[in-house]
C-alpha cells in the first residue's frame, strides 16, 4: 500500500529539479484546466535568484524597462532592507503577457514551487486572460515588444539629447502617471494606414474632378475668420480632459516630438497597469482561491504528502491573515484575505445557501456550480463592482466589520454602521467605494486654456470630502506640468457642489526644458 502511495507523489522532500517542476506543472494543469475549467495563456516559467528578484522589483516586475533613477532608488531601498532581513521577497512575480511569464525563486522548496505555479501560472494567468478590464486595456501579446521599443527609444533619446534632458521629461511624466490614464474607452481613431488611404482617395478625387475654370470664378474675398465659440474651442482640444499626460502630449505647444513620444510611452505603461490597480482584491483572490483548490485537490489525490500539505497550509494562512483593527500588525484590509474570503463565500452560497443568501443572491444561491459563477465573476467585475455586488452579510458578520467616520468638525470619531441589518448595505457601499480608483485618486482635470491669448493652462481639482491635495507635492508636480506646457499653469481646488475655490496653486515654467 505504501509503495503505491509513494509512486503517486509528484515529489519527495523539499528539493526539486526541472523534472520535478515539469511533473508539478502537469499535475497542476490537470486539475486547473480539467477540473476547475480555467482558461490560461501558455505558460513560461523562469527560475531566478534572489538578486534577480530584486532587479525585477526595481522595474515594477517587468523583465525589461527603460532606465530611470527612481528605479535605482527603489532597488537600493529594497536591497538595503532585504540585506538587513527586514523584508522577505515575494515567492513569485507574474507578468500579464502572452505567453504568461512567471518568475519563481530558486530558494523555494518543492511545495512552494507547486503553490507558486498553481497561484501564478494558473490563478493570475486565468484572471489576466479573462477579466474584461485586462482585455480592454492591456495588450498581452504586445507588451514585451512595446517595452523593448520603449527601452530602446529612451536610450536613443539619451544618446541624442543627453541624460539630463530625458530625465527631466521622465520625472515629469512619472509624477503625472496616476493622471495619465484613460478611464473610459474612447472613439477608435483611424490608424495611420487608413488615414493614408483616405488621403490618397481624396487626392485622386480632386484630380479627377479638376477643372481649371473654377480658378477664374471671382470670389467674395476672404471673409474674416469666424470667432470660434467657447464650446467649440474647448471641444477641439478635447476639454475638459482628465488624462493630463495625454493632453500635454497632444496639445503642449513647445514640446519636441521626442518629448511627446516619451510622454506617450509613460502613458501607455500607466494604462497597462491601470487594470491591476482596480483589481487587486479580485486578482489576488482569484489566484489564492485557485491555489487553495488545486493544492487541496493534489493532496486528496495523494499527489503531495501530508507534510507538504501542512507546509502549504502554513504559508497559505500567513498570506490570508487579516489582523483586526486594534492589532498592532493591522495595516489596512489584506486584499488576499478579502478576495479569498469572498470567493469562498460565493462557493458556499452556491453549494450550501441559507435563507438569507437566497434573499440576497437569488441568482446564484444554490446554483450548485460554484466554478461557473466564479469564472463569470472573474471575467466581468472589478474590485469596486465585485464588492458592491457580492460582499455577503455572512462575511460582514464573520469579519465583524464596522464603518468609522472621521469628520474634523466633530470632536469625536463616529461609528456609522456595524454588522447588523441596518448596516450591511451601507457598509458594503462604503467599502466598495474604497476600491474605486476614480474615487480614491484625486479628480484633477484640464479645464481650459486660451491658446490664442496668454496660453495659461487651467486645471481643476474637484475636492472630495474637503480633502485638499498634499500642498508641497502638488506644487512640485505643477511645476513639472508648467515645464512641459511651456507657459504658466494654475491649479484650482474647487468644491464641486458650490463651485467655491478653496485654494490656488500657480507655477511658471523654467526655461531649462527647451
Amino acid at each position: 500500500m505504501s509503495a503505491i502511495e509513494q509512486d503517486n507523489l509528484i515529489f519527495h522532500g523539499a528539493d526539486w529539479d526541472f523534472g520535478t517542476i515539469q511533473r508539478v506543472y502537469d499535475a497542476v494543469e490537470a486539475i486547473a484546466v480539467g477540473e476547475l475549467g480555467l482558461d490560461v495563456y501558455p505558460n513560461q516559467i523562469e527560475v531566478i535568484t534572489a538578486e534577480q528578484m530584486l532587479d525585477a522589483y526595481a522595474s515594477i516586475g517587468m523583465p525589461l524597462f527603460y532606465k530611470h533613477w527612481s528605479f535605482g532608488k527603489h532597488f537600493a531601498l529594497h536591497e538595503s532592507s532585504y540585506r538587513q532581513g527586514l523584508m522577505g521577497l515575494a515567492y513569485e512575480i507574474v507578468i500579464n503577457s502572452n505567453p504568461c511569464i512567471s518568475y519563481i525563486m530558486e530558494e523555494n522548496t518543492a511545495t512552494m514551487q507547486t503553490l507558486v505555479i498553481a497561484h501564478a501560472a494558473f490563478g493570475h494567468n486565468h484572471f489576466f486572460k479573462n477579466n474584461y478590464l485586462f482585455k480592454e486595456w492591456t495588450d498581452a501579446d504586445g507588451i514585451l515588444d512595446y517595452l523593448e521599443f520603449a527601452k530602446g527609444y529612451v536610450t536613443r533619446c539619451e544618446e541624442r539629447y543627453g541624460h539630463a534632458a530625458v530625465e527631466r521629461v521622465l520625472d515629469a511624466a512619472h509624477a503625472m502617471m496616476s493622471h495619465g490614464v484613460h478611464r473610459y474607452p474612447r472613439k477608435k481613431r483611424p490608424d495611420l494606414r487608413s488615414e493614408e488611404r483616405r488621403e490618397q482617395e481624396r487626392h485622386r478625387h480632386q484630380e479627377q474632378t479638376f477643372n481649371d475654370l473654377w480658378r477664374t470664378v471671382p470670389t467674395k474675398g476672404t471673409a474674416a475668420k469666424p470667432q470660434l465659440s467657447e464650446e467649440r474651442r474647448r471641444a477641439l482640444l478635447e476639454l475638459p480632459q482628465e488624462n493630463i499626460l495625454y493632453f500635454l502630449e497632444k496639445s503642449a505647444p513647445r514640446l519636441q516630438p521626442w518629448q511627446r513620444e516619451i510622454l506617450r510611452i509613460v502613458r501607455q505603461i500607466a494604462q497597462y497597469f491601470y487594470p491591476q490597480r482596480q483589481t487587486k482584491v479580485m486578482n489576488e483572490g482569484c489566484a489564492t482561491y485557485c491555489h487553495y483548490r488545486i493544492m487541496t485537490r493534489l493532496h486528496e489525490k495523494g499527489q503531495i504528502s501530508d507534510g507538504a500539505f501542512l507546509e502549504f497550509l502554513q504559508s497559505h494562512t500567513n498570506v490570508t491573515r487579516q489582523p483586526e483593527f486594534d492589532d498592532p500588525h493591522y495595516g489596512g484590509i489584506n486584499p488576499y484575505a478579502l478576495g479569498f474570503g469572498m470567493m469562498q463565500d460565493i462557493e458556499r452560497i452556491c453549494t450550501r445557501p441559507t435563507d438569507e443568501d437566497r434573499e440576497w443572491f437569488p441568482a446564484i444561491a444554490g446554483s450548485g456550480d460554484a466554478m461557473a459563477v466564479l469564472r463569470d465573476v472573474w471575467a466581468n467585475y472589478r474590485d469596486e463592482s465585485f464588492i458592491s455586488q457580492y460582499l455577503s452579510p455572512h462575511l460582514i458578520r464573520q469579519w465583524r466589520m464596522f464603518h468609522l467616520v472621521d469628520d474634523p468638525d466633530r470632536p469625536e470619531l463616529m461609528v456609522e454602521a456595524i454588522h447588523d441589518e441596518r448596516g450591511y448595505r451601507r457598509l458594503r457601499r462604503s467599502l466598495s467605494r474604497h476600491y474605486d480608483v476614480g474615487w480614491s485618486d484625486p479628480d484633477i482635470q484640464v479645464i481650459d486654456v486660451d491658446l490664442a491669448g496668454d496660453r495659461r493652462l487651467i486645471l481643476h481639482h474637484h475636492v472630495l470630502n474637503r480633502t485638499m491635495l498634499h500642498k508641497d507635492d502638488a506644487q512640485r508636480v505643477l511645476q513639472m506640468v508648467a515645464n512641459l506646457w511651456g507657459y504658466a499653469v494654475v491649479l484650482k481646488e474647487v468644491d464641486p457642489a458650490t463651485g467655491a475655490i478653496f485654494q490656488e496653486h500657480v507655477a511658471h515654467p523654467h526655461e531649462t526644458l527647451f
Binding site: 517542476i21 501558455p42 523562469e46 527560475v47 535568484t49 538578486e51 534577480q52 532587479d55 522595474s59 530611470h68 533613477w69 527612481s70 528605479f71 535605482g72 532608488k73 532597488f75 537600493a76 531601498l77 540585506r83 518568475y103 530625465e167 512619472h174 509624477a175 503625472m176 496616476s178 489582523p323 483586526e324 483593527f325 495595516g331 489596512g332 484590509i333 469579519w399 465583524r400 464596522f402 468609522l404 467616520v405 472621521d406 474634523p408 469625536e412 470619531l413 463616529m414 461609528v415 456609522e416 456595524i418 454588522h419 457598509l427 484625486p442 484633477i444 475636492v463 470630502n465 474637503r466 480633502t467 485638499m468 491635495l469 498634499h470 500642498k471 507635492d473 502638488a474 512640485r476 508636480v477
Partner: protein, 435 residues
C-alpha cells in the same frame, strides 16, 4: 509550457538605474560620504558602507490627497463592542486617525542605502586629481588583449567567417562554371520530353551526353570546398599600463610620538588609496630613518620603536639609492610623502636641501612634506609662528621655486582636509581664483 533557467543570466540589471540614482543625488550623497568618513577610522575607509541622505532630494512627487483635513472614513474589521452611533475619542496625535489614514507616500525620514566600496571611494576621492600628470610613463606590459586582424585560412570552427567563406565559394563556382541546379533541371526536363515523344535520337543523345558532362562537372566542383573557408583572425596586442611607486619616508626617532605616527599613517593610507584609484599598479616603499635610514616593511615601519638622532638626508639618500636600483624614473611615476615632527640635526639642513633640490625633486612627480605635531600644539601654532628646522629648510626651497608641497597637521580630523587641499583638482582651483 517552457521552463527557463535564468539564474545564470548576468545580474546587475539595475546597475544603470543605480548609477543614474547616484548621479542624481550626488551632492547629497557626497556630503553623507564625507560625514561618514569623518566618523570612520581611516583604515576602514577602503570599504563600502551605508549612508543616509535626506529623502527630500530624491522625492517622487505626485498629485495625492494630504492626510490632514477633510472627512475620512474607514472600514475596519474586528468590531468587538461598538454599535451604530457610538463615538470614539480621537487617538492622540491629531486628525489622521485610523491606520489606513496615513498617506501612501514615503515618510520624510532619511533615505538609507548601502554603497559599494568602489562607489564610496569614487565619491570620496571625487574632484581630486594627481598633480602634474605630464610625466606619466608607459612601461611594463601588464595586460594582453586580442584584436581583430583580418582573415586566415585556418582556425577553429567558432571563428568561421561565414559570409566571407560563402562569398569565396560563390566566386569559385562562378569562375569554374559549375552548372547551376536549374540548368540541370531544364536539361533533364527536355530529355524527358524528347523521350516521351520518341525519335530524334541524335538530339537526345547529344542532350544526354551534355547532361552527363554537367553532372560530372558538378561532382568535380563541390558547392563548398575547404579552400573557400576563411576564419576570423585575432592577434594579441599588449596594452601598456601606467605604474607608480610611492615612497613613504618617516622620521622614527624618539621625538615622534604614537600620535604623530598615527597621523602619518593616515596620510599614507589616503595617498595609497588615491594612487591605487589612478594607477593600475602601485608599489609602496617604506623608508624610516633616525640618523640612518633603512627600507623596511609596513609592520616595522609603523610599529617597531627606534632610537637615535635625526638626519633627514639619510632617508633621501636611501630613496635615491632605491630609485637608482629598482624604479627608473623613465618607467615609473614616483611619489614621495615625508612625515616628520620637524626635527633635524642642525648641520644636516643644507645637505638635505641640496639633495632634495638636485636629486629627489627632479625625479618625483610629487613630493609632499607633512609636518605632524602633537594634539596640544594646536593652540601654539595659532599665536606664535613657530617654525621647526626642517620646515625652515623646505620653506627656503619653495621660495627658490622648488615643486614641493608642505602642510602641518596636528589632529587627525585635519588629515582629510589637508589631503584634499594638496590634491585638489587644478582647474577647480583656477576657476576659484577667477574673481
Amino acid at each position: 509550457m517552457y521552463i527557463i533557467d535564468r539564474r545564470l543570466n548576468p545580474g546587475g540589471k539595475s546597475l544603470a538605474n543605480r548609477q543614474r540614482f547616484l548621479r542624481r543625488a550626488k551632492a547629497q550623497i557626497q556630503r553623507a560620504v564625507r560625514q561618514t568618513a569623518g566618523d570612520r577610522d581611516i583604515t576602514d575607509l577602503d570599504r563600502g558602507g551605508e549612508v543616509s541622505i535626506p529623502a527630500d532630494g530624491v522625492r517622487e512627487p505626485s498629485f495625492r490627497r494630504s492626510g490632514e483635513g477633510g472627512v475620512h472614513d474607514h472600514i475596519l474589521p474586528g468590531n468587538k463592542r461598538f454599535v451604530e452611533g457610538d463615538t470614539i475619542d480621537r487617538p492622540p496625535g491629531g486628525a489622521g486617525s485610523g491606520s489606513s489614514g496615513g498617506d501612501s507616500g514615503e515618510g520624510e525620514d532619511d533615505f538609507r542605502f548601502a554603497l559599494t566600496r568602489d562607489e564610496f571611494l569614487d565619491l570620496f576621492l571625487d574632484d581630486l586629481e594627481l598633480p602634474d600628470l605630464a610625466k606619466r610613463r608607459v612601461a611594463t606590459v601588464e595586460t594582453q588583449g586580442m584584436r581583430r586582424a583580418g582573415y586566415t585560412v585556418t582556425g577553429s570552427p567558432v571563428n568561421l567567417a561565414l559570409l566571407r567563406s560563402m562569398r569565396n565559394a560563390l566566386s569559385r563556382r562562378i569562375a569554374l562554371r559549375r552548372p547551376k541546379p536549374q540548368e540541370l533541371l531544364r536539361l533533364q526536363e527536355e530529355i524527358d520530353r524528347l523521350e516521351e515523344r520518341g525519335g530524334e535520337s541524335g538530339r537526345l543523345a547529344a542532350l544526354r551526353e551534355e547532361l552527363d558532362r554537367l553532372k560530372h562537372r558538378t561532382r568535380r566542383f563541390p558547392y563548398i570546398d575547404p579552400i573557400d573557408l576563411r576564419y576570423r583572425r585575432f592577434e594579441p596586442v599588449s596594452r601598456p599600463v601606467a605604474q607608480a611607486v610611492m615612497f613613504c619616508l618617516m622620521d622614527v626617532s624618539g621625538s615622534m610620538t604614537e600620535h604623530m605616527k598615527d597621523l602619518a599613517k593616515r596620510f599614507y593610507m589616503l595617498l595609497y588609496i588615491f594612487l591605487t584609484r589612478r594607477y593600475k599598479h602601485v608599489e609602496i616603499v617604506f623608508i624610516r630613518h633616525t640618523h640612518e635610514a633603512k627600507e623596511v616593511d609596513e609592520e616595522t615601519f609603523f610599529n617597531s620603536p627606534e632610537t637615535g638622532g635625526t638626519v633627514v638626508s639619510s632617508a633621501l639618500r636611501e630613496m635615491q639609492r632605491i630609485v637608482g636600483e629598482r624604479y627608473s624614473p623613465d618607467s615609473w611615476n614616483i611619489y614621495a610623502a615625508q612625515a616628520s615632527d620637524g626635527d633635524n640635526s642642525p648641520n644636516d639642513g643644507t645637505t638635505s636641501a641640496a639633495l632634495l633640490r638636485d636629486v629627489i625633486l627632479p625625479i618625483c612627480q610629487y613630493y609632499a612634506y607633512l609636518e605632524v605635531g602633537s594634539d596640544s600644539d594646536r593652540m601654539q601654532t595659532g599665536f606664535i609662528n613657530h617654525k621647526t628646522s626642517l620646515w625652515q629648510t623646505y620653506e627656503s626651497l619653495i621660495e627658490h621655486g622648488a615643486n614641493l608641497a608642505m602642510r602641518k597637521v596636528n589632529h587627525r580630523r585635519e588629515i582629510y582636509p589637508v589631503f584634499r587641499e594638496l590634491f585638489r583638482r587644478r582647474d577647480a582651483e583656477a576657476i576659484a581664483r577667477v574673481p
